[in-house]
Symmetry: none
Subunit: 366 residues, 3 copies
């Protein structure tokens, strides 16, 4: 007789997200639509230990957000437009995903302001051999609709209907909070200084910041781009995760995985034909985690170095795993100089704050 | 106000498939489960006119079928198994899909016999800018569950419940019809003869030049090109190395690697939309190395063969390695005819010259 | 003790290029810049033994050269231009690179003539788990700047400053030597004749079966395979569609798309490490469609040709489209010999049968 694994998995999804999501369809209540992407994880999506890269997951999350955002913003008259990613809220990787598993990414529009919209995404990983289903990731992304005719023209967002006044109120709070933060970082990003030249400095001692610091360069190609000829936010995040992974592996010499990503603001878009330089360095190390600051610079290939600008920056948290996927201790970071000390203190503050938040949430749930 | 495009699209799906499909979930009736894959079509998925390749769609169809089939066959006790594709029924492409559209692939198990199952798949293409949704494809695939422990062991398929006796009956008819046909073609396939000008000429003796000679065809796509719409030199070199590697592997039947590449001159550029033919054959074999001449021809796809021209040619040197990455001896080359003899002598001269150069350099460094 | 490989490796770099390299930055002296690409080697970059393909390395080398060359040539007024590769000097692969290692490609402009520039590139492979660093490759490439407005216009190259008169002198010698050689090969290349068993037999008349017949070779990689290490049916179908598309395009010289695929039976699975040969030829042409028979042969790379077997075969139907996606008439097929005539009649029978089926279905639906 037929067995009920698929149903069980679906039940689990229901439990986890509280409200059932129906793919590619309008929700019963009639308010907000959802979008779902699914794909088998292949060897190229993972590291040599079989752990799927955080960057692969981030890229899928952004693709689902872009589809649902673009679809929604074109449900009105006026210029055709694309949803452009402007911000990703702090994202946690709750459980590792492996080669051969199917990742299901579900996105839903949860708030709209006049010119932006919030998309909440969740990623479930399904082992199709055992039927096991686990929540891998939850993320919130902000998009603005950009006219296809004129990249500098931001369109209006059609409002969604909320299930309750409370839901609308909570969305508004999240909107105001992120707006304020984005303004702050916009002023701060001007001060960001690229790390001093050569990432692979041979004179550096092991476990110092300079020792593991890494950078990679990527020439933007057609497959990296939207119909606008701008780089997909997901492509940028995948590159950032790759560099952060190299930094973490250099520091620990073990199997490392992405544990979480701090808020990412996309202040400036990156166009086709640009050279993208992604640089990462350790800012803080706790007993079991590493914080890596990743900075993305872009410069048009046809221009001199003066055309170079800061496009994005973010903090990635990595952990080290043994062969049974249990966390390993991380070697302490050797600090050199005042600036590194200041960065370390700031990283420690973020670490303690996040720890406190997680504890508070746990208590709230009990 | 909110518009109803997504709903309209979903309505269209309903109309087309009669029964509404609910993704990743058990159907209302409770009997059969479905699976859905969705993905934005990228430049790499299409030809230079923007039409998505039929092959891209076929690959997504099979992935969806494999997921749902594997998931279903593992809902029982016994060995873990994978659903292996054994047959695809006639498939029609009803409307073209374009870059930037989202392809939604939905799969459903529609019949199970003791050792096989039928999956019906449909592909909808959604233009997320206009909300337009069109049926692109419908397909039926047959899978058998193969044990992961033992590839030759076919597992049993858990039965599904049918909505009606009629549905079961129709499925059985399809099953019997395809079974008969598969048996027929199985006997017939023994008679299939490879067409005459196949590069792997079966009449060639092993270790001759003709035996290992190989060629490949590549249709230049957007990702192969520079901003000029010319093929990147690096892309051409990668194809050349690929052909040379196949030639070397056919000659030795071992793990082979590139040892060096002789000078490559790029006399003429290759434009977007060209068909590139890369041909390689052995010219010289020493005790431990093989020299392979690789020739690249290009011809614009939209023109007659008169447009064909030699674009690049070069010599690649390969060596053969055992599993500890130590060099292995290479089987001698059987020369046939004067032209091959002359090529061999020229190759030998290059080999000796390079050997002398390397020795001189070594001495200079000491 | 920790190993000082990275340090040693850097020493090697110093020895090799004399002057220390500074990544993505202008050198202190302000004259000549360097560029660095880094990337983790993935399963798709390597063969099934884990050895990274020489072609993957060559492609990265060229990308680094193109970036630094283009950037340099645009540091002056005049048309924007791209550096186009014209020549690669002899290149040696000094040590194998493996999956999971990080390849660092460093490029530096070492000579400029009025219309060309020399880029020297080196590739270091770093094992980020052990810290081991080894020199994998050294290459020298020649580029010319081509105007983006007019592909036939070669721009002038801004001169670089040399560290010493000696350095300039040596560069000039290399420049003169390669110029002479390129001229020589340019005259010689006209004599190069495609090898005899090339599938695109130039003696074939247009619109015959032999004229458009095509085949491609694919080496099965990890990303093509299931957890069983067998090729996904979808991967095979994608290759089949690719060959059929080349056949159709050669016959019509227009934009062609897949209209339908006849039944495909998968009698034998294809294993990891096989070489797959996919051959296609026209069997029947109606007024507006082409039927192409595609045959897939597989043979284990490490065995003799005796291991070769027919894996799959199928008929693909293609149609020809104009730029508004309307069907175009297809040139008639010139039949040669009895066997082709028999195939043509069989194809015609399938065509008429399908047409009758479609009509019957249409009537049934009304």
């Amino acid at each position: 007789m037929r067995c009920f694994r698929p149903r069980r998995a679906a039940d689990e999804v229901d439990k986890l997200v509280k409200r059932p999501l129906v793919s590619g369809d309008v929700r019963e209540g009639g308010e907000s639509s959802t979008s779902q992407l699914s794909r088998i994880m292949r060897p190229d999506d993972a590291n040599i230990m079989g752990n799927v890269h955080g960057g692969t997951i981030l890229k899928m999350i952004e693709e689902a957000g872009c589809i649902i955002g673009t679809r929604h913003c074109n449900t009105q008259n006026g210029d055709r437009c694309l949803a452009a990613l402007v911000r990703v809220e702090k994202t946690e990787f709750l459980s590792p995903v492996f080669i051969g598993e199917v990742a299901h990414v579900t996105a839903e529009i949860t708030y709209t302001s006049k010119h932006s919209l919030e998309v909440q995404v969740q990623v479930m990983a399904e082992n199709i051999l055992t039927g096991a289903m686990k929540l891998s990731n939850k993320a919130a992304l902000w998009y603005v609709p950009v006219s296809l005719k004129n990249v500098d023209k931001i369109m209006e967002v059609p409002p969604i209907k909320y299930a309750s006044a409370e839901q609308a109120e909570e969305g508004k709070k999240r909107y105001e909070a992120q707006k304020l933060e984005r303004l702050e970082t916009k002023t701060r990003i001007k001060d960001v200084v690229s790390p001093p030249s050569n990432p692979e400095d041979p004179t550096k001692e092991q476990h110092t910041v300079g020792f593991s610091q890494s950078s990679l360069i990527h020439l933007v190609g057609p497959s990296d781009c939207t119909l606008h000829d701008c780089v997909h936010g997901g492509v940028t995040m995948k590159l950032m995760d790759e560099v952060a992974g190299i930094v973490a592996a250099r520091h620990c010499n073990t199997n490392i995985v992405t544990a979480s990503v701090d808020v990412i603001n996309f202040h400036r878009t990156i166009k086709k034909g640009c050279v993208v330089t992604v640089t990462g360095h350790l800012t803080f190390v706790s007993n079991k985690s590493m914080e890596i600051e990743v900075i993305v610079d872009a410069s048009p290939l046809m221009e001199t170095e003066k055309g170079k600008y800061h496009a994005v920056s973010a903090y990635f948290i990595f952990i080290s795993l043994d062969k049974y996927n249990r966390t390993l201790p991380v070697p302490p970071l050797k600090i050199e100089g005042e600036e590194q000390q200041r960065s370390f203190e700031e990283g420690k503050a973020r670490y303690l704050q996040n720890k406190a938040k997680r504890l508070a949430e746990k208590e709230r749930q009990q």
